[in-house]
Amino acid sequence: MELHDLPKPQDLMNIDLNKPPETGWMDTPTVFRNGTYSYPAAGKNLKILGLANPRQWSPADEDWKLPENWKEIILQGMKERLEKYRSFRLFMDICVRCGACADKCHFFIGSGDPKNMPVLRAELIRSVYRNDFTLLGKMLGRLGGGRELTIDVLKEWFYYFFQCTECRRCSVFCPYGIDTAEVTMIGRELLNLVGLNINWVIEPVANCYRTGNHLGIPPHGLVDMWQFMTDDIEDITGIKIDLPINKKGAEILFVTPSGDYFADPGTYTCMGYMMLFHELGLDYTWSTYASEGGNFGLFTSHEMIKRLNAKIYAEAKRLGVKWIIGGECGHMWRVIHQYMETMNGPADFLEEPVSPITGTKFENAKQSKMVHITEFTSDLIKNGKLKLDPSRNDKIIATYHDSCNTARAAGLLEEPRYVIRNIMNNFYEMPENTIREQTFCCGGGAGLGNDENIEMRMRGAFPRASALRHVVDKHAVNRLLCMCAIDRATLTALCHYWAPDVTVGGIHELLANALVMKGEKERTVDLRGEPLGDEEEDE
C-alpha cells in the first residue's frame, strides 16, 4: 500500500474538526452508550410497589414496551402536577435563560454535553410544557420554543433526568431561585407513570418498603451485624458494649443509613456512633424496623418519599421515644428538612429535642423532632463533655467533602468542621469555590451511584476530584471525610480512579478513634484495625 493511501490520523479519529453542530439540541438524538446509563427497574420490584408497567426492557432497545397511551398518561401527569405544585409551574414559567446556571453542573463541566447544562435539562420538559400548556406555544409551536412530546423526547428525558444527581448546585447560582433538581424530580415522577425507572433506585425502595432497609436484611440479620461490630469494638478498646435494640421507652431513637451496617468504610462510622453513645451512657435505642435513614423515595416520587419516611415516625411512636437522632446521611436530611413535617407530620407525640447530657435545646428541630448527629456531637464538644485525644488521628491528613444535601439542603456547614477540628490535627480545606454551598457532587447521588453507570459517574466526579487532587498535591491529604452513606461508597470509587492514595471515611469514625473511653485498654489500632503509631508502619 502506498503511504498516501493511508488514512490521515485525523481521519482515523473520525472527528470533523471544525464542525458546527449539525442539529440543534431539540433534534440531536440520544445515544445510550454503555457505562453512561443505569439499568432499568426489575419488574418484580415494580410489582412490590404497585408501580406502572412492570416488564423486562433495556434503554438500549429500540422498543421500550410502553403502554399504548403513554403520551396521554404523561401529559395528564404533567397537568396534575402543574396544578398541584406551584413551584413546578413557576419553574416552567420564569426562567429567563440568563445562563447563570449553565456551567455550574458537574456533569456539564465533566462532559461538555450541552444537555447537562441545568437550563437545558429543564428545557427538555419546558419545551413540552410550552407546546401543550401555554397559549403561545400552542400557536407558535417550535417558533415559540415549544416541542411535541415524541418517543425520542421521552428517551431523552430518561437519559438526562437520570443523569442529574439532584444536587442543587445550579440553584445556588440562579437569580430566580429555580431549582432544577425539583424539575428533575417531577421529570422522574412522570417517567415512573409509564414504567421508566432505574433498578438502583427502585430495588432499595422495594426492599425498604418490605423490610425497612435498602438491602432487605431481616431483623435478626441486622442484630447479627450490629453484634459483629460490637465484637470488633471490644477487640480494639476492651470494652463490651451492650447495644440497646428496639428498646421501648428509651429517650431517643437513633436512625442511620443501612449503608453504615454492611459496607466499609461506613461500618467504621457506625462503630463510632456505638462507642460515642455508650461512653455517654445515653438512654437510646436502635431499631430493626426504622433501620434505614436513606430514603430513595426522594429519587422516585413525592408519594414514595412519604411512604418510606412514615416508618420513622411510626417506630418512634411505637417505641414511645421522646425524639430522634439521625446519623451521617445526606439525602435523609433533605427529606427531614424539606418534606417530613408536611408529609408525615405533625409529630406532636414527640418532644422538642433537648440534649440529656448538656441540656441544650435544639430549637431548629422543634418541628421535625430530629437532630443531626453532628449537631448533637458538636454541642457535646463545645460543652466539654468528651475526653478527646486528637493525636490518635495523627496519621491521617484530611479534607472534608460537603455532601450536597447536608450543605445545600440542610445548611450543616459549621458543625461537621467544628467536630473535625476537635478530633484531629491535620485538616485542610479544598478550594473555596468547591466547598460549602458551592460543593461539587460526588457524581453518584440520587440513585446514580451504580456500577453500570461508572463512566458517567467519573465524568461528574471530575470537578470534585480536581479539587481533591489539589489538596493532595499541596498538603499530602490522605483521607476524604464526608457525612453521607452514598458518598462513602461513591467517593471511594472516585478516589480509586482519580486519587488512589486517598481513603474515604466518616467523621464519627475519627471521633471514636480520638474518644478516650472510661475503662478502655491502651489503644494500639484504629477502628480499621490499623496501627495507631508510626513504629509498625513499615510494611
Binding site: 485525523q10 454492611f262 466499609d264
Partner: protein
C-alpha cells in the same frame, strides 16, 4: 526549522488546544476555552496545562517522560477515557499536533533535507507520546472495570465476612 518551531510555539500550542477542544460539543468547548478558574473548569485546565507540557517534551531532547510529563498526559487521558469518545478519539488528540505543525510550518520551512529529517524526528516523538497515551488509556479503562467489580463486592462485604465467620468458612478476598 527548529528555530521556527520554537518561535511559533505559542501559536502552535494554541492551535493544538483549539483543535483538541473542538472534539467536544461547541457549547462545552466554548466553556472550556473561556472559564479561567481551574476548579470551575478542570477539563479545560487539564488540556491547557497538558498541551504546554507535552509540547515542551516533544521539542526537548529528553528520552524519558519526566514525572511531570506523565502526570500532565495522564490528566488529559484520564478524563477523556470516561467521556463520550472511542479509544482512538480519546488518544488521537495527540496526532492533531502533527497537523498543526505542518499547517504552521510547511510553507516556510522544509527547505532542505535536514528540515525533513527534523520533521520526521518530531513526528516520531509525537508517535511515541501517543503510544504512552494509549497505555494510559488502557490502564484507565481497566481501572473502571476494577472499580465496578470492587463496588459489587464491597456493597455486602461485611455480610459475607460475618456469614463466613459464623459458619466457619475461610474468608479471604
Amino acid at each position: 526549522m527548529r528555530d521556527l518551531i520554537l518561535e511559533k510555539k505559542k501559536d502552535i500550542v494554541k492551535r493544538w488546544i483549539e483543535l483538541t477542544i473542538d472534539t467536544y460539543p461547541p457549547e462545552g468547548g466554548s466553556f472550556m476555552k473561556n472559564q479561567k478558574n481551574q476548579f470551575a473548569n478542570p477539563v479545560g485546565a487539564a488540556i491547557l496545562n497538558g498541551a504546554e507540557t507535552l509540547y515542551k517534551w516533544i521539542m526537548s531532547g529528553d528520552k524519558d517522560l519526566s514525572p511531570d510529563v506523565v502526570r500532565r498526559l495522564d490528566d488529559v487521558i484520564r478524563i477523556r477515557a470516561v467521556q463520550q469518545f472511542s479509544a482512538s478519539d480519546a488518544v488521537g488528540f495527540i496526532f492533531l499536533l502533527k497537523r498543526v505543525i505542518r499547517e504552521t510550518l510547511l510553507r516556510d520551512a522544509l527547505k532542505d533535507k535536514n528540515d525533513l529529517q527534523e520533521l520526521f524526528d518530531i513526528d516520531s516523538r509525537i508517535d511515541s507520546l501517543a503510544l504512552h497515551a494509549f497505555n494510559m488509556y488502557m490502564k484507565c479503562r481497566e481501572k473502571l472495570f476494577e472499580i465496578r467489580a470492587m463496588e459489587i463486592r464491597n456493597r455486602t462485604s461485611r455480610i459475607l465476612e460475618r456469614a463466613c465467620m459464623k459458619y466457619g468458612a475461610p474468608h479471604e478476598w
